[in-house]
């Protein structure tokens, strides 16, 4: 297999470009998109690469259609992706719910920009975190990953595909304009060294009869993709294990939704990913994700330098959310700080997790610029003094 970019060595590229290359290496062969700042570079790279690797890159008439097309492609067996930013992500909400309900593996990249509405199109923010988790209607669960560097954007894109395939669920890669547009060195491994997952297919005709049945006891049904003679029926309506619409049976609805939520919840351990820095003996913790976590690392070093025992928890996955881990940290430290490029979103989840065992303080920032390490240090020191 020949790749349209160098593999097995490092390159100096934008986050958006890294996402596109990782998708190709993850086996993505279908991309549908619509132009939007600051995600267009992903699309442009896909447009350049896809025809060369016999994949499809197509520009749809809007974002609604883009996510629809990738769901369609996923049902014929293609690994599929779309990328957008806030306004387009808002438009995708209905069909994101459809992908959750029909358990369709897809990857949706949201390169966050400053909102609400059109806001500041070229500037970064972390304002869509709760939208990624709660933006579509009805009870549901999904997976949300948050890269902080270009290398992470690359690695997490591959992981996003693997998780989507493994758990038959949409996965959101929630990055931002800063990571998307910045250039850094990325080590692009040899394709043979990349571990890839492909969805579980039915072992036989019998299994294929239950596209939505927990036939293996692992809550994840094998996916009888179209065109194999299984004659699968897929609907966004509440359906039974065979996929037949059953819209008035409360029992069936309960069973279906509970399984969809539980297949994420019960596999939390496998999905959740985080890093810690100087957290073991910390008395003050900073919980951060995405681009801000990079400022937070530096802030921790600076705080340590000033004699404040600070530590960092950097979340690489923000949903499912490890409430228990936060509670454990809350038992160890007396305060948790959450710097976010918004006016308080993941902060709410941290607060729920902390369960009153430690003070939880928000360090908000909006306007398109990343917190400087000094700003975090200052905010922490101000609060530490006031106790």
């Amino acid at each position: 297999m020949r790749y349209p970019f160098p593999v097995g060595k490092s390159d100096f590229i934008q986050g958006d470009e890294a996402i596109a290359r990782a998708a190709i290496l993850a086996g993505c062969r279908f991309y549908a998109g619509y132009p939007i700042t600051p995600a267009s570079e992903i699309f442009e790279a896909m447009a350049l690469y896809m025809p060369l690797v016999d994949g499809v890159s197509i520009q749809m008439e809007d974002e609604l259609a883009s996510i629809a097309a990738i769901i369609g492609a996923s049902w014929v067996g293609a690994k599929a992706m779309t990328a957008t930013s806030g306004p387009g992500f808002s438009l995708m909400m209905e069909n994101l719910g459809y992908a959750i309900m029909t358990e369709t593996p897809i990857v949706v990249v949201d390169v966050q920009r400053s909102g609400p509405s059109t806001g500041q199109p070229t500037l970064a923010a972390q304002g869509d975190v709760m939208q990624a988790i709660w933006g579509t209607h009805g009870d549901h669960s999904l997976i949300v990953l948050t890269p902080a560097t270009v290398q992470e954007a690359f690695d997490m894109t591959i992981r996003a595909f693997n998780l989507a395939e493994k758990y038959r669920t949409p996965v959101i890669l929630l990055t931002d304009a800063e990571v998307g547009h910045m250039r850094e060195r990325v080590n692009i491994p040899n394709p043979e060294d990349i571990e890839l997952v492909y969805r579980k297919l039915p072992a036989n005709e019998e299994e294929a009869k239950y596209p939505f049945g927990d036939i293996h006891g692992d809550l994840i049904p094998p996916m009888p993709i179209f065109g194999k003679g299984y004659r699968t029926y897929v609907t966004g309506l509440t359906h039974d294990e065979k996929g037949r619409p059953k819209t008035v049976d409360a029992e069936i609805h309960h069973k279906l939704i509970e399984r969809i939520v539980n297949k994420i919840e019960k596999n939390k351990k496998d999905i959740i990913d985080y890093e810690t820095f100087e957290l073991d003996d910390a008395e003050v913790a900073i919980v951060s994700y995405g681009i801000v976590a990079r400022s937070a690392i530096r802030a921790v070093k600076m705080l340590r330098g000033e004699g404040i025992k600070a530590g960092l928890l950097k979340l690489n996955v923000v949903w499912p959310f490890d409430f228990e881990m936060i509670e454990k940290i809350a038992e160890q430290v007396h305060a948790i700080y959450v710097p976010e490029m918004n006016l308080g979103q993941l902060y709410h989840l941290v607060k729920e997790g902390a369960n009153g065992k430690a003070r939880v303080e928000l360090i908000p920032k909006i306007g398109g610029e990343v917190h400087t390490p000094q700003e975090i240090v200052k905010a922490v020191k101000r609060c530490e003094k006031c106790i």
């Binding site: 998109g33 700042t37 442009e44 890159s57 306004p87």
Partner: protein
């Protein structure tokens, strides 16, 4: 801080001085369109107080927003005509004008475009067609000519452009015309007609984007693009006698329809009067 604008340009009175200069690139056709629109307003002696200008997202949405000194509603991507529908129903006596681009109005907003034409609501749409998504960096649009290069069709476009004027005419508009930025006088006349016609009117303006479109298609200079427009423009009367093959790659210009059809807000208000009469709720 408002910058002082020293100009002898007569139409400057229609512009928001504190918002100038515009963000349009040098050589963009948007300026021509803004100028033509201002001239049409001037010639018709329309008071800008009787105007509401609505736009979506994209370079062409910025032609009048915020530069034109009237009530201006700058909305979300593709939805300008739907917003304008609400404005027109609320203010049936005002002129409601939508100025936006091809990607905005015919790409993501294509549905609102054909439905407004079907309703024949009295809105004037000036659709600036530069064949490209300029603001986001030159991606293919539903209007991009077959075979053109863009950032998302690096190996040339394989889709056929949407014939906006014909689709809108078919959908039921009262007035439809197409010109290019090389046909300024005809354009002004058409905008004037569109503003006077009762019902949905569309003036499609083929316009140059030398930076995002021209550069990738061997027309770096605005003048080259204008020459291209002039060379390939075919008047509609002549086009009728030509085969589809002969028309490949040509721009059919002129008036597509100009007709009287029932208008939406009039019909809506008529209905309300009838209901009031029927239930004995009229003005006693």
């Amino acid at each position: 801080m408002a910058k002082e604008i020293y100009t002898k340009y007569k139409m400057a009175k229609y512009l928001r001085k504190e918002a100038l200069p515009t963000a349009l690139c040098p050589g963009c056709g948007g300026g021509t369109v803004l100028n033509a629109f201002a001239n049409a307003i001037d010639q018709l002696k329309i008071d800008p107080k009787d105007l509401v200008v609505v736009s979506g997202i994209g370079c062409s949405a910025w032609i009048a927003s915020p530069y034109f000194l009237a009530d201006t509603l700058h909305t979300t991507h593709g939805r300008a005509i739907a917003f304008a529908t609400g404005v027109k129903v609320g203010l049936p006596d005002k002129k409601v004008v939508v100025i936006s681009g091809d990607g905005d109005l015919a790409g993501i907003g294509g549905n609102h475009l054909i439905h407004a034409a079907r309703r024949n609501i009295d809105i004037t749409v000036i659709l600036v067609n530069n064949f490209i998504y300029g603001m986001t960096g030159g991606q293919v649009a539903p209007t991009t000519p077959f075979g053109a290069k863009t950032t998302t069709t690096p190996y040339r476009n394989i889709e056929h452009p949407l014939n906006i004027a014909e689709v809108v005419a078919e959908a039921g508009a009262s007035y439809v015309a197409r010109w290019t930025t090389a046909h300024v006088y005809q354009l002004i006349e058409s905008i004037k007609k569109a503003l006077t016609v009762k019902g949905f009117s569309l003036v499609e303006v083929i316009s140059q984007c030398p930076v995002q479109f021209g550069r990738r298609n061997k027309m770096k200079e605005p003048a080259e693009m204008l020459r291209w427009f002039l060379k390939n423009s075919i008047p509609i009367s002549k086009a009728k006698k030509m085969s589809p093959e002969e028309l490949e790659g040509k721009f059919v210009i002129g008036e597509f329809v100009n007709r009287q059809r029932p208008e939406f807000t009039e019909e809506l208000n008529k209905l309300i009067d009838e209901v009031a009469e029927h239930f004995g709720l009229g003005d006693e």
